[in-house]
Symmetry: C2
Subunit: 170 residues, 2 copies
């Protein structure tokens, strides 16, 4: 039976912009991490139409930020991750070249200015000018898991602080 979702698309609107110190996509930190949070500051600007939605966000110390990996032009279904030397399936890695180029990062929230549509954030790991798609409050009760396995990352994740992005995900 044909799946009713097959071949269908959905359109989303940019609702703001994430400003960071990273002007180029190469040489960036590859993932904001819990115990190596860089503290790197960024500014999210939210376009006027959506600013009323910022109410109450300032009460949360962290948020999931969803964005468009707008510089990723090609998609490979298997790619060698920055942390590895073996090609892995794209759904087992977090890199930017994905079937749908949606990025997800947990950022620290420093300050929210509803009226001006400005959020001061910490631990940014995306390129300057990245288009914002959504912000969701981070709640450990919903978002933490008692994880049993992290696959190919098991003996790789400790190398995270020394690895930066290069051109393999272009």
């Amino acid at each position: 039976m044909e799946d009713q979702n097959a071949g269908k698309k959905v359109e989303f609107e940019y609702i703001g912009t994430i400003h960071t110190p990273y002007k180029e996509k190469h040489g960036m930190p590859i993932q904001a991490a819990s115990d190596q949070a860089t503290g790197t500051k960024g500014i999210i600007t939210v376009f006027p139409a959506w600013r009323a939605g910022l109410k109450d966000l300032g009460g949360f110390s962290h948020a999931h930020v969803l964005y468009h990996f707008h510089l990723s032009s090609k998609c490979h279904l298997q790619v060698t991750p920055f942390l590895d030397s073996t090609p892995r399936g794209i759904f087992s890695i977090r890199g930017p070249c994905r079937p749908n180029a949606i990025g997800l990062s947990v950022l620290g929230i420093e300050k929210v200015d509803e009226k001006r549509g400005i959020i001061e954030v910490l631990d940014v790991d995306m390129v300057d000018g990245t288009p914002l798609l959504d912000i969701k409050p981070f709640v450990p009760h919903f978002d933490h898991r008692d994880v049993k396995a992290i696959g190919w990352l098991e003996d790789k994740v400790q190398h995270l602080p020394t690895v930066h992005s290069d051109d393999r995900m272009d």
Copy 2:
């Protein structure tokens, strides 16, 4: 200065379908949670073009699953959450009526069949037939945070097990 992202849109493609026991959007669990994981089983089917990307996903016990809240037609910037009685800004709640209707859940991974494009998952909290947008491996090293504040949810989150969805997010 005009923001170059203002007014721009991006199109994403449905890459599969999430099958769950929830045939209607009302009366569902409102959020898969770490300590109240329901164990509710679901099946994600991935369309043929993307199946090669499933390699290595089976090594992970959990994944972030991104999907389209395809039944959410209207968007309110402030809404009263299922867990609360006060209107809150949409970026401080997790509900489906959002400027961009993208859903995010952490699901348990039971089994991945790359060839057939089938993933058996646990703790589903979305309606049957939900269109899949992305899957990312869940890695505590990247995804857990030492959270200081959860805003309006502070004295509400313990009521999670007794609350189900209704029509306020329609």
